[in-house]
Amino acid sequence: MSVTDWITQVLEVVVALAAAPALLGWLNQCRAWLQNRRAPSLWLPYRNLRKLFHKEAVIAENASPLFRIAPYVVFGSMVLAAGIIPSMGTRLPLVVSADAIALVGLFAAARVFMTLAAMDVGTAFGTLGARREMMVGFLAEPALLMVIFVASLISSSTALPVITEHLASGHLGLSPGLAFSAVAFVLVLLAENARIPVDNPATHLELTMIHEAMVLEYSARHLALMEWAAQLKLFNYVCIGFALFLPWGVATGHIGPVGLLVAIPALAVKLAAAGAGLALIETVSAKMRVMRIPEFLGTAFLFAVLGLLVHVLLGA
C-alpha cells in the first residue's frame, strides 16, 4: 500500500461527503427543469444541512438512547460504504476489510438501526414507515445481491475494486448478462433511495411516506445526519452502479496525481448524467401504490436472475 493509495482512499471519502448533497441538489434541479419549474439552487442541500446543524435538537421524552445513536450509526455506515466503493481509484486500502457482500450488509445494518429508531418513539407514522422500509429492504437486498453475483461471476471476485478493474480492462460495452443486471440495479436504486415511483421524497402526506416517515421525529443535528446519510446512500448507490456498469474513467492500478486528474472529472460527468437520468425517470413516472412495490422489486430480482442465466448460458 503506497501513500497515493491512502491519499486516494481519503479523497474518495471526502469527495463522497462533499459531493453527495450536490448530487441531490442537481437531481432536484433537473426535476424542476423537466417539470417546467424554476429550479432551486444547487447548493440548497448544503444550506439545509448547515441550518439543521445550527439548530437545537428536540428529542421526544420517551426516546431511548437508541434513538440518539441511530443517526451516527446510519451516517457512519454510509461513510464506511463510501470508503469501499471504487468511485475514482481501485486500489483502496480499506477494501481488504469488506467485499461487495459486506457492503450489502452495511446497508442492511444502517436500515435496521433506522427502522428501530423510527419505532422507538412509538408514533404511528414512524412505525408505518419502518414497516414499509423493511418490506422494501427484504425485497431489494436479494435483487442487489443477485446483481453483484453476476458481476462477480464475470470477474471471479466479490471485491468491488477487482470487479471494476476487470470490467474496465475488458472490451467497451456491456455483456448481455450485465445489461439485464443493470436494469435490475436501477430498479433497486430507485427503491432503496426512496425515489419515485416507490417513495416520494417531496411529499408532505404523512400517510404515504416511507423514508420521510421514519425521520419525522428527528430534528437539528440528528436530522442533518439522517439527511446527509440519505444523500450519501444515493451517492454510494450511483457509484456502485458506475463500478459495475460504467467503470470507465476510474483509475486502475496504482495511480498518481495524473490518474486522479482524469478520475475526478470523469466521476463528475458520470454523476451529472446519472442525476439527469434519475430526474427523467422520476418525472415521467407516478408513485405506485404501496402494494405494487413487491411486483416492482420482484421484477428487479427477475432481471437480475435473467442476467445470471444469460451469463451462464451464453458464457459471456
Binding site: 417539470q35 417546467n36 419515485i196 416520494n200 404523512e206 415521467v284 407516478a286 405506485m288
Partner: protein, 491 residues
C-alpha cells in the same frame, strides 16, 4: 303522501328559483323526510333556530324534483326542553347536522349518537375496532402541509383500512352568531368567507335570498357577470384540484402544469376584476365591479387558452399508466351507496347522482344558458377526476358564451333592507356542490338568523365509506378527490 302534496301545500319562499316552505308538526316532520327520500330527493340542510325567549324551530331543507322544500317544525318554549325526532335513519347525513345543531342551540334530537360535534370541550369518543392485529393511526388536526385542520382516526390491519372516523370542528368560529351582529346589507361579505374557495357561490346564495326578500329585480348584466364569476371560481378550483391530484399520485409534472394554468387564469381574473380571488364581487343588488368590453375579450381569450391546454393535459393523465393505475378503482363510492348517503355535488355526479342546480332548478342567467350536466358512474378517484376535467371544459364553454354576450345595462341596483321577519333562501351550484343560505331578516335592517350550508356536510360521511378496503397510503389521494371544506362545515 307523495312529495308533490307537501309541495302544493307549501308557501313560496323568496330567493332561490323554486323554493317552498311548509310548517309541520312533530308527526309530519319525519313523514316529510320519508316522502322526500321515497321520491329520490336529498337532504340539503338541517338547522335549528332558537329565540332568546326559548321558542325554537328546526328546519329541514330538501332538494326535490319541483324545487327546494323547507319543512319547519316549531318547538315552542314550554316546561320540557325542546326536542325533535332525528332524521339520521332516513338521511344519514342528518346525524352530524343534528349534533352540530345541539352544540349551537341546545335543542336535542332523538339521535342516539350524542357525542358533541362542534363542541370540543371533552375528548372525543372514537369508535374502537377490536380484533387481532388491528391498530389505530391518528392523523391531524395539525398536518405536515398547509391545509385545513381535521382529525382522522384510522383503524387498520397492515395497510388495509377497516374503519375511518372523522372528527371536525377545529375551525369553528361562530359564524352564525357573527351574522346576527351584521347589518343585513353587509352579510354577503361574511358569507363569502364561510368557505373561501366558494366565495362567489356563498355570496351569490346570500344575495339571492336577500334580493328575493326585498323584491328587487336585478339587471341582466349583473346576473351574467355573477355567472362569469361563478364559472371562473369553478374553473380555478378544478384546475387546482387536478394539479393536486396528480401530485398526490406522485406525478409532480401535473401539479407544475396545472399550477401554471391556474395562475394564468387568476392573473386574467385579476386583470378583469381587479382581484385574483373573487371575494366581494357579488354584492346585494348586483356586482361590485363591472368588466369593460376589452377586459371581457381578454378574459375570454385567457380562458380559451387555459381550456385548450387542459385538453392536452387530460390526454396525458388518461394515457399515463402510473397515474391511471392510482386513480382507477381507488376510493370507489358505489352509486347505490352514494344515493343512500345523499351525496351531492361534484362527488355525487361522479357516483351517478345526477344533480346540478344550474340544470335542475335553473335561475337566471342559466335559464337562457343551458348547462351540460356531467355525470359519471364509476364513483372512484378516476371518475371524480373525469368530472372535474369535463366540468372545467363546460365552464370554459359557458364563459365563452357569457363573456361574448354580456347584456348592456347597470351592474347594480339599490336594494332596500327587507321587512322584519322576512325569510328567504338562496341556492347556488358552487364548484363543490349546491350551496344553501337561509336568511331571516330582523328589525331595522339587521339579520335575525342566517344559516350557510356547505355541501361538504353531506359528503364528509361518504369519504368514510369510500376509503373502506383501500390502503392507508391511498387516503390522501382519495381525500383530495373529494376535496371537502373544513371551514364550511365547522361554521
Amino acid at each position: 303522501m307523495p312529495v308533490r302534496r307537501w309541495w302544493e301545500r307549501g308557501q313560496r319562499i323568496p330567493g332561490a328559483s323554486s323554493a317552498r316552505g311548509v310548517g309541520v308538526d312533530a308527526e309530519q316532520w319525519p313523514q316529510v323526510a320519508r316522502d322526500v327520500a321515497a321520491s329520490g330527493g336529498v337532504l340539503l340542510g338541517l338547522w335549528v333556530s332558537r329565540e332568546p325567549g326559548g321558542d325554537a324551530a328546526v328546519y329541514g331543507a330538501y332538494l326535490t324534483d319541483p324545487g327546494v322544500l323547507l319543512a319547519e317544525l316549531a318547538l315552542p318554549a314550554g316546561g320540557q326542553p325542546p326536542h325533535y325526532r332525528g332524521l339520521e335513519d332516513i338521511f344519514p347525513a342528518a346525524s352530524r347536522l343534528q349534533r352540530a345543531a345541539f352544540d349551537l342551540s341546545g335543542v336535542r334530537s332523538s339521535d342516539p349518537d350524542r357525542r358533541p360535534w362542534l363542541d370540543h370541550t371533552d375528548s372525543y369518543a372514537f369508535v374502537r375496532v377490536d380484533g387481532e392485529g388491528v391498530h389505530e393511526i391518528a392523523v391531524g388536526p395539525v398536518h405536515a402541509g398547509t391545509i385545513e385542520p381535521g382529525h382522522f382516526r384510522f383503524s387498520v390491519v397492515g395497510e388495509k383500512v377497516l374503519r375511518l372516523e372523522e372528527h371536525l370542528g377545529y375551525v369553528h368560529k361562530g359564524l352564525e352568531q357573527r351574522f346576527s351582529a351584521l347589518p343585513i346589507l353587509q352579510g354577503h361579505r361574511l358569507a363569502a368567507r364561510v368557505s373561501g374557495d366558494s366565495a362567489v357561490a356563498f355570496s351569490w346564495a346570500y344575495c339571492q335570498a336577500l334580493e328575493g326578500m326585498s323584491g328587487c329585480a336585478l339587471p341582466m348584466r349583473a346576473l351574467w357577470l355573477r355567472a362569469v364569476c361563478l364559472e371562473l371560481e369553478r374553473l380555478a378550483n378544478h384546475l387546482g384540484d387536478l394539479g393536486a391530484l396528480g401530485n398526490d399520485a406522485g406525478f409532480a409534472f401535473g401539479l407544475a402544469q396545472f399550477s401554471r394554468l391556474k395562475e394564468d387564469l387568476l392573473r386574467a381574473v385579476s386583470a378583469a376584476f381587479g382581484r385574483r380571488y373573487l371575494f366581494d364581487t357579488v354584492v346585494p343588488g348586483g356586482m361590485a365591479v363591472d368588466v369593460s368590453a376589452d377586459a371581457a375579450r381578454a378574459l375570454a381569450a385567457a380562458v380559451r387558452a387555459v381550456c385548450a391546454e387542459t385538453v392536452e393535459l387530460r390526454t396525458i393523465y388518461d394515457e399515463h399508466e402510473g397515474v391511471r393505475d392510482r386513480f382507477t378503482g381507488a376510493g370507489r363510492l358505489e352509486p347505490q351507496l352514494a344515493a343512500r348517503l345523499g351525496v351531492i355535488g361534484l362527488a355525487g355526479r361522479a357516483s351517478a347522482q345526477a344533480r346540478d342546480v344550474r340544470v335542475d332548478l335553473p335561475h337566471p342567467p342559466y335559464t337562457e344558458l343551458p348547462v351540460a350536466k356531467v355525470v359519471h358512474q364509476d364513483g372512484d378517484v378516476a371518475a371524480r377526476v373525469a368530472v372535474r376535467f369535463e366540468e372545467a371544459q363546460e365552464s370554459g364553454r359557458l364563459l365563452g358564451r357569457l363573456l361574448s354576450g354580456l347584456p348592456d345595462g347597470e351592474r347594480a341596483v339599490t336594494v332596500d333592507a327587507p321587512a322584519d321577519g322576512a325569510f328567504g333562501v338562496g341556492l347556488i351550484e358552487g364548484w363543490r356542490g349546491p350551496v344553501l343560505v337561509a336568511l331571516q331578516a330582523g328589525p331595522q335592517g339587521s339579520i335575525r338568523r342566517c344559516h350557510p350550508h356547505d355541501p361538504s356536510w353531506q359528503n364528509w360521511p361518504a369519504l368514510e365509506y369510500a376509503i373502506l378496503g383501500n390502503i392507508v397510503p391511498d387516503f390522501p389521494l382519495i381525500n383530495k378527490s373529494f376535496n371537502l371544506s373544513y371551514s364550511g362545515v365547522d361554521l
